[in-house]
Amino acid sequence: MYNGGKIIFGLIIFLAIVTFPFYSNLGGSAKKAMPSLDTPEIYALATKECVRSGEYMKKEHMKVLDEWRDEVVREGKREKISVGGTELEKSLQNGCMHCHSNKEQFCTECHKYAGIDPYCWDCHFDRGEGRL
């Protein structure tokens, strides 16, 4: 090969970059996020259910939040909803986080795993954080 040294060097760099996901995970456990539903509020529910079906929430929970926000903030529809036998506000802090009071083991468990960091918490509180 002409200029073999340089070309092989380039190929090694290419392979090192492209196969990074493989060797960096070699022997890894390929773990899966396990959000915990283990909160006193959920145990207290008459029926163990979310605001929509669990399957739907897994994929679309942010859409529910988006709808609630638009309804509450833009249209002023603050009527309560009834889930699992409890009356709740359509609210991030007082709705979702009422039942899912374990933010770290629930929301963050998934979000860290999926590599996202919702900016909602710039303004909203979870129940453990108290208020300003």
Binding site: Y2, G10, L15, V18, F22, L26, K32, K112, Y119
Partner: protein, 329 residues
């Protein structure tokens, strides 16, 4: 016309993936077998192609020069358009790879009133650059599916990319830019009659395929959502070489994955190899130092020469006898 053929192939690939995953047992085939094969073809294919290029001799220095060569000290040397040293070549290459400097010089050639005119045409450069940068950033962001725990710099890129904070999940600009820039490149091929005339299926297909991949990703993120936690468990399984049959992931994910596998397989045999080719282009990666350094053609036959000095040594006596003047007595 090439574009209809290419478009049909991309649609066919989409349909194959969409229909295939409904057949029981085929999830493993589309989710594990095909992606592994595709990565293998990609890696081996690229290496062999580059090795093949490496075996071609480059006898002379043939850089395309676009400026004044190194000359007398009072003539200004255009260092990065006519590089003299390896250092200058490296800077020239870096500028080429990251900023597409040669494309920046692209001109529009038109007939106006029977005369050929040349005009500035920076849109192609801009669209080309945006297309590549967006593709790159989308790929970097995708690392969140392949690394656990996700390094913070990926979160940072994600936050920057989504800084407009529109919608949930938040809009990522590079994904949209990728489709928009790719769309312009496609539009230009169709709209400009000269470019259309020289466009082949091999030009349309990669463009349509990449736009198809990006569209399927966008549909998956904003419209037909999939369970990202299951997706990541599946991709981590793939890269840690412990594949598990993906369960409960929507068909849209298989379409995305199958189109990507098609791209990987196609890559080494197509013009997409310009990724490696740009580094091996003799018109870019050589210094223009023909006047300074002697370059010997590597395949030259080793010619046996008989120099005059040796000739004289051999025949000196005979030459003297014949009265022919000699240089050494």
């Amino acid at each position: 016309m090439g574009i209809f053929f290419s478009f049909s192939v991309v649609v066919a690939l989409t349909v194959i993936a969409f229909a295939g995953v409904w057949i029981p047992g085929m999830q493993y085939f589309f989710g594990v077998v095909i992606p592994y094969l595709a990565v293998l073809v990609f890696l081996v294919g690229v290496v062999l192609k580059v090795a093949k290029w490496g075996r071609s001799p480059v006898p002379f220095r043939i850089p395309t020069t676009c400026g004044q060569q190194q000359s007398l000290p009072w003539i200004k040397h255009s260092k990065y358009d006519n590089p003299q040293t390896t250092g200058q070549v490296i800077i020239r290459m870096v500028l080429e790879v990251f900023l597409f400097r040669s494309l920046f010089r692209n001109l529009r050639t038109e007939m106006n009133d029977g005369r050929v005119t040349y005009g500035s045409d920076k849109i192609l450069w801009l669209a080309g650059l945006l297309f590549h940068i967006s593709f790159f950033i989308v790929l970097i962001r995708h690392l969140r599916f392949f690394i656990e725990p996700v390094p913070s710099f990926i979160n940072m890129i994600d936050a920057l990319d989504g800084f407009v904070q529109v919608g949930v999940p938040h809009l990522l600009l590079t994904g949209v830019l990728l489709v928009a820039a790719g769309g312009y490149l496609l539009f230009r091929r169709i709209n400009n009659s000269q470019v259309r005339h020289i466009s082949l299926p091999a030009d349309y297909f990669p463009l349509l395929l990449i736009i198809g991949i990006a569209l399927s990703g966008i549909i998956m993120r904003y419209f037909v959502k999939v369970d990202i936690v299951s997706v990541k468990a599946f991709t981590l399984g793939l890269v840690s070489l412990r594949p598990r049959t993906p369960a409960g992931i929507g068909a849209i994910f298989y379409i995305h994955l199958f189109l990507i596998s098609a791209l990987l397989v196609y890559f080494p045999f197509s013009k997409l190899m310009h990724m490696g080719g740009v580094f091996l282009s003799p018109t870019r990666n050589l210094a223009n130092n023909n006047r300074e350094v002697r370059h010997v053609n590597p395949w030259n036959y080793d010619v046996k020469v008989h120099s005059y000095a040796a000739y004289e040594d051999e025949f000196r006596e005979k030459m003297k006898e014949a009265g022919i003047p000699v240089e050494k007595e």
